[in-house]
C-alpha cells in the first residue's frame, strides 16, 4: 500500500516535470517577428510617394469606401473610443506586435486589403509604418496628415488647409536672408537687390572644420 502511494507520487512528479518542460518549450519557440528588409532596403522606402497617402487621397477613399482599404488607428484606446475613422481598427503603437494584432494584420494581408496607418500626427504613425514595412508587410501605407484632417465629424475645421505633406519647409528663406545679414538691411535703402546676394557668400573659416592637432 505504502509502495503504491510512492509510485503514484513519483508519476505525478514526473508528469508535472514534463508539463513544465513542454510549457517552457512552447513559450520559448514563440514565433518572433523578423526583419525581412535590410536597413539599406528600408532606407529606400523613405521619401517614396508610393508608400504614403495624402489627406486628399484619403478623403477620396473615405467617400468611396470600396472595401479594399482598412484604416488602422495607432492612437491609444482612449483617443480611439472618443472618435475614429469609420470601421477603423485600433492598434496602439505598443501593441503592434502582439499575437492578436499580428493575426489581424496577416489576415488583412491575405485578404488583399490595403492598410492605411494614421495617428494623431504623421509622426505617430510613422514608427509603426516603418516597422511593418521592415518586417515584410507590403500592403501598408502611411497617412501623411493628422487625425483631425480625417475627422469627418468636424468637416469644416481649419485643419483642412494644413499642408498635404507634413515634411514641407515653412521657412521664408528670402525674408531670412535679410534678417541674417544686418549689413544687407542697412544697405537695403539704396540698393535692395545686390547686398542680399553678397550676404549669402559662405565665409571660409578654418575654426569649424574640426580635427587636426
Amino acid at each position: 500500500m505504502d509502495e503504491l502511494n510512492k509510485t503514484n507520487r513519483l508519476t505525478i512528479i514526473v508528469i508535472a516535470f514534463v508539463l513544465v518542460i513542454i510549457v517552457g518549450l512552447i513559450t520559448f519557440r514563440r514565433p518572433d517577428v523578423k526583419y525581412v528588409l535590410t536597413p539599406a532596403e528600408s532606407l529606400a522606402l523613405l521619401n517614396n510617394p508610393e508608400f504614403v497617402i495624402t489627406p486628399e487621397q484619403a478623403s477620396a477613399i473615405l467617400k468611396d469606401s470600396a472595401g479594399k482599404t482598412v484604416f488602422i488607428d495607432v492612437r491609444n484606446s482612449m483617443a480611439f473610443d472618443r472618435n475614429h475613422v469609420k470601421n477603423a481598427i485600433n492598434i496602439p503603437v505598443r501593441e503592434l506586435f502582439s499575437k492578436k494584432n499580428k493575426n489581424v494584420l496577416r489576415d488583412l494581408e491575405k485578404a488583399g486589403q490595403t492598410i492605411i496607418l494614421y495617428g494623431e500626427t504623421q509622426q505617430q504613425a510613422n514608427g509603426p509604418w516603418l516597422m511593418l514595412r521592415q518586417t515584410g508587410f507590403k500592403n501598408v501605407l502611411l497617412f501623411t496628415g493628422t487625425f483631425a484632417q480625417l475627422d469627418t465629424s468636424h468637416p469644416d475645421s481649419l485643419t483642412r488647409i494644413l499642408p498635404q505633406l507634413s515634411e514641407t519647409p515653412l521657412i521664408d528663406t528670402a525674408a531670412l536672408k535679410l534678417v541674417s545679414s544686418p549689413a544687407a538691411t542697412a544697405k537695403n535703402m539704396s540698393e535692395p537687390a545686390k547686398p542680399v546676394k553678397k550676404a549669402v557668400i559662405p565665409v571660409k573659416k578654418t575654426k569649424s572644420s574640426g580635427g587636426g592637432c
Binding site: L43, P169, V179
Partner: protein
Amino acid sequence: MPAKDAAKQTQPEQLLAAIDDPSRFLSSDDITDRLVKKDPALLLIDVRPSEQFKSFSIPGSVNIPVDSLFTQASMEMLNQNAKDKVFYSNTDVTSDQAWILCKRIGMQRIYVLQGGVNNWFASVVKAVKPLETGSEKDMELYQFRLAACQYFYGSPDMAITSNTAPEKKKVTIIRKAPAHSSGGGC
C-alpha cells in the same frame, strides 16, 4: 543577411518599444541652449535634401540627406560614441525615420529634434513675446530665445553698435561640406 549583422541589430520588438518611448525627442530650446553654450558633444544632423539645407539650416549643423544615411562617409561621422547625434528635418517625420533605422543598426546616443527646423524657427528665431500677465518663466524663456537669436543672426532692428554681433553672424552661415568628416585628430 550576414549572421553577425543580424546579431548586432535591435530586434523588432525592442525597436518598437524604443519607438514608443518619447525620450529620444529633444526640444528646440534644449538644442538652442546647447548651441549657445557651444556644447562639443552636440552633433546636429540635417537629413533634408541638400538644396533645403543650403537655403536654411540650424547654425552649426551638418547635412546628411536621408538617402545617403548609410554611405561610408556618413557612417564614419555617425558611428562615434562621444557625441550626441541629433537628427532634424522640416518636421520630425523624416528625422524620426532616420532615427529608427539608425537605432535598428545599433547606433548609440541618437536623438530627434522635436518639431524639426520648422518648429525651431517658429519658436526660437520668431519668438513671440508672452503676455504681460504671463509667468516669469515665460518671460525668461522669451529673453533666452531673443538672446540666442541675436547670438546666431545679430540684431536686425537695432543699429549695429557693437561690432561683435555681425562677426558672429558670419561665423554661423559657414556651410560645412557634408562629406567632410569632423573627426580627424591625431
